[in-house]
Symmetry: C2
Subunit: 489 residues, 2 copies
């Protein structure tokens, strides 16, 4: 498929906002702070499934939303009818022009807790308004890309196909879920529209209903082989895999394909004990002269089952992964948050902090940048350093980094390179970033993951990658905490 189609449809999702973003917007305007320049960070606090990192995803959809953000007459009428908002606010929305600056980490990048994935700078009323959509868009796709990557790593080089549309949480769950799964490393999807929209290879052959619709399994297989001689992959578990499905498949391969000099593509098993059935099926297919016939399995798979059956020696070439990928079933919530971190006053950036009795919930104040620090010799990522936005890392000098809480834990880096993770995406509301296509994002993702140590990639209890604060940012935070400590204990 080289021919790609644009996502032309224009959906009006402008009012996909939490209602408080409207009441606050109206209130900011009423209190004369609507145009005050503020900074919000979108970040997350922990990696789902106890993993070592997440995969940033969803930026393209966020950009599309921001680029098109405006209010229809319908929207305005609806808001007026609420009887809650001042005319000034209604008029502001009618003439709305998005004017924020936005920075973000490119899709496909491995990201870690407490790192701003998206930074929004702009008038309070606007930066506040987009809270829900920033979170919803990034939370969803990052969740699925992260889960997909775990599954793909478990499959250890075998093909992984995303099969979950029917169990997704809504249409976008299926469509953008397929996109995120592909970024995270899946090879293809069953979701046809995802190929049309994004060029992700769509695959699929038959369901049990195909087999049932014919008078016998054998006839159903024959009909398939005659329709798709070059794509002959048969679902063999409608009645009984080893007593009926595989023998019938072999018969049809021999009768319909071999005389034409065509090799069968494979068989699929969607139920029963995967380990036992694939071992036996492999033996039967090999003996029958089809060692090149692939074995595809599906049926409630995830990274844990995949790892287990591979360890047990199951003979599988390809996994179709459905509901547990598309909903990230083991942990279906990505807890990204969107917090005010600074305001501008008299042309100065004034850092703000949100304090909590729970230390983990305390924000990193200020307008920031993230540097990923690589060892020049191994090309492996050593640590990420969150700095204030105007800080510059001098690669020619040793760099001391330290644990943000246990500050006596220190490390001095030499022979490193520093790469900025946050890129400008919108400048005063105008898009200044070219979204790569999903295949390039997927490739980039794989490359980036290869810079992580194995210890960080481990499924369970991975090494905690260092995400440190620069001295300047650490002091900024510490000073604000000290100033506010009157409220604690």
């Amino acid at each position: 498929m080289s021919h790609l189609f644009d996502w032309k449809e224009e959906r009006n999702l402008s009012l996909l906002v939490d209602f408080y973003e409207l009441t606050m917007g109206n209130g900011y305007l009423y209190n004369g702070v609507g145009d005050k320049i503020v900074y919000f960070d979108m970040y997350f606090r922990r990696v789902p499934d106890g993993g070592g990192f997440c995969i940033m995803a969803g930026l393209q959809q966020l950009i599309e939303y921001l680029k098109n953000l405006k209010f229809s007459e319908d929207d305005i009428l609806y808001l007026k009818n609420k009887g809650l908002f001042n005319d000034d606010f209604i008029n502001y929305l009618r003439d709305f022009k998005f004017s924020c600056d936005v920075w973000a980490i490119p899709e496909g990048t491995p990201v870690f807790p407490n790192e701003p994935l998206v930074i929004v700078r702009g008038p309070a009323i606007q930066a506040q308004f987009i809270e829900t959509m920033v979170l919803l868009t990034i939370n969803h796709q990052t969740l699925i890309a992260t889960k997909a990557n775990r599954i793909v790593r478990a499959a250890d080089g075998r093909t992984v196909m995303e099969f979950g549309s029917r169990r997704a949480q809504g249409y976008d769950g299926a469509i953008f879920g397929a996109r995120a799964a592909y970024i995270g490393g899946c090879d293809s999807t069953a979701c046809t529209i995802a190929e049309k929209m994004f060029g992700i290879p769509a695959v699929g052959t038959m369901a049990h209903s195909w087999v049932q619709l014919f008078d016998s399994e054998l006839e159903a297989f024959r009909a398939w082989a005659r329709t798709y001689p070059n794509n002959c992959l048969l679902l063999v578990d409608t009645y009984n895999v080893l007593k009926s499905g595989i023998p019938n498949a072999i018969k049809v391969f021999n009768e319909e394909l071999v005389p034409l000099g065509i090799r069968p593509k494979g068989i699929r098993i969607d139920s029963g004990d995967i380990k036992y059935l694939t071992e036996k099926s492999r033996e039967m297919l090999d003996e029958a002269g089809f060692p090149d016939c692939k074995i595809v399995v599906s049926n409630s798979l995830d990274e844990y089952i995949i790892r287990d059956v591979i360890l047990q020696g199951a003979k599988i070439d390809s996994f179709g992964v459905g509901e547990r990928l598309i909903t990230a079933k083991s942990e279906p919530v990505f807890g990204g948050v969107y917090k005010l971190v600074a305001i501008e006053e008299n042309n100065e950036i004034k850092p703000k902090i949100k304090i909590s009795e729970n230390e983990e919930k305390i924000t990193n104040p200020g307008f920031k940048q993230i540097y990923r620090l690589y060892d020049k010799k191994t090309n492996k990522a050593i640590a990420d350093l969150i700095t204030l936005a105007d800080e510059i890392i001098d690669e020619s000098k040793p760099l001391e980094i330290f644990h943000p809480i246990h500050t006596w834990k220190r490390k001095t880096l030499t022979n490193f390179k520093a790469k900025k993770l946050l890129t400008k995406i919108l400048d005063k509301g105008q898009v200044v970033y070219d979204c790569p296509n999903v295949t390039d994002i997927k490739t980039y993702c794989k490359e980036q993951i290869s810079t992580l140590w194995d210890e960080v990639l481990r499924f369970e209890n991975p090494h905690k990658y260092y995400v440190d604060l620069s001295s300047k940012l650490w002091s900024t935070k510490h000073n604000l905490l000290t100033k506010h400590n009157i409220h604690f204990r």
Copy 2:
């Protein structure tokens, strides 16, 4: 809000299909069975979270999809470019006219495992094509309506607000999730667009960022009270609930509202120990002369936490429930399936069965109806009886029902009434059903739940509601199983 808006946007979701629906459709046509009349059942096998029942939801969106099903030139071009489909099939899609009959259980109805929620009768190529969208639409909303109902029952009469958009799995997850949550019993939503689209009350006040944007919490509260004197609900946990938030709220209520003769609406707590903080806050508000000031809590709530804090005596008037509702976090997959159950041959309906070594996965064959049987005296639902579609229940005679597996477990009903659950929705592709508005569905849902025994409503280990097969259906199934048993053991 009485002014409602239509969901005018037309989304082209025609290719939101699993790719195998296309390869099978093409194959059916090629093998001369494309127009064979088939019956598919959509049903589920178990209730999420170990609950006693589910709430049917999503039908309106399914109808909208089926009503508008057609293929754009873009769609056709994409499919042609795949190089896999015959011209006959491409032309069939170009001239596509949906002509299936569809029956369904109305939204808001409590439903049980193995009951067909949707039945599709029509040409194989069409009935197969819509598989993904039937499943995706009903699976998603039924999952969320069911979860919401658990949460609402746990809240035991207190208000429940759906607050989950930012953590939903995609935009539709937020929007249709809010719809399903409302059907399941939530009182309102934070998702603004859900009010515009469906008339679900949208609510919300302020985030922590409001408080942070002003020089002090006190000033932030003052500004709010002046902006919204009649809607003064303050978020009190930005710094410290009991030492700062509540005292400042009381001060502002006294200074800004009392002189105007206005009562405050409430306070919201979004962190910390709910039980302790609400008890103390209640005391402080009562002492200050605001016993009518409501206490709203949010922060990772679900039915278990809500039940627990209520049991412990927490003083809460209203719950804002987010991520755990909108993703059905504890069990985020609704496992609906879509199975071929009959074909028509020589104008006769020929039941089909899908056999599995797992007894639970064996389908109920044939074209069916479901009767809900009510005790006339108590008006409580006693059992559901799945019958062949042409069976009639004579309410004037005793009716013997029996367990579908342990057939010696029998019960004879007298003085009962029988209500058909499946209603015709589309007739030869034309909609013949008027979707009620969501508020009516919500009311209907509540009424229907009141016909269930408390034993079925229990959260954990509920009584298993009887879902039996009529003698005729049971025999049909048994005969087919006997015929096929050659494959087993």
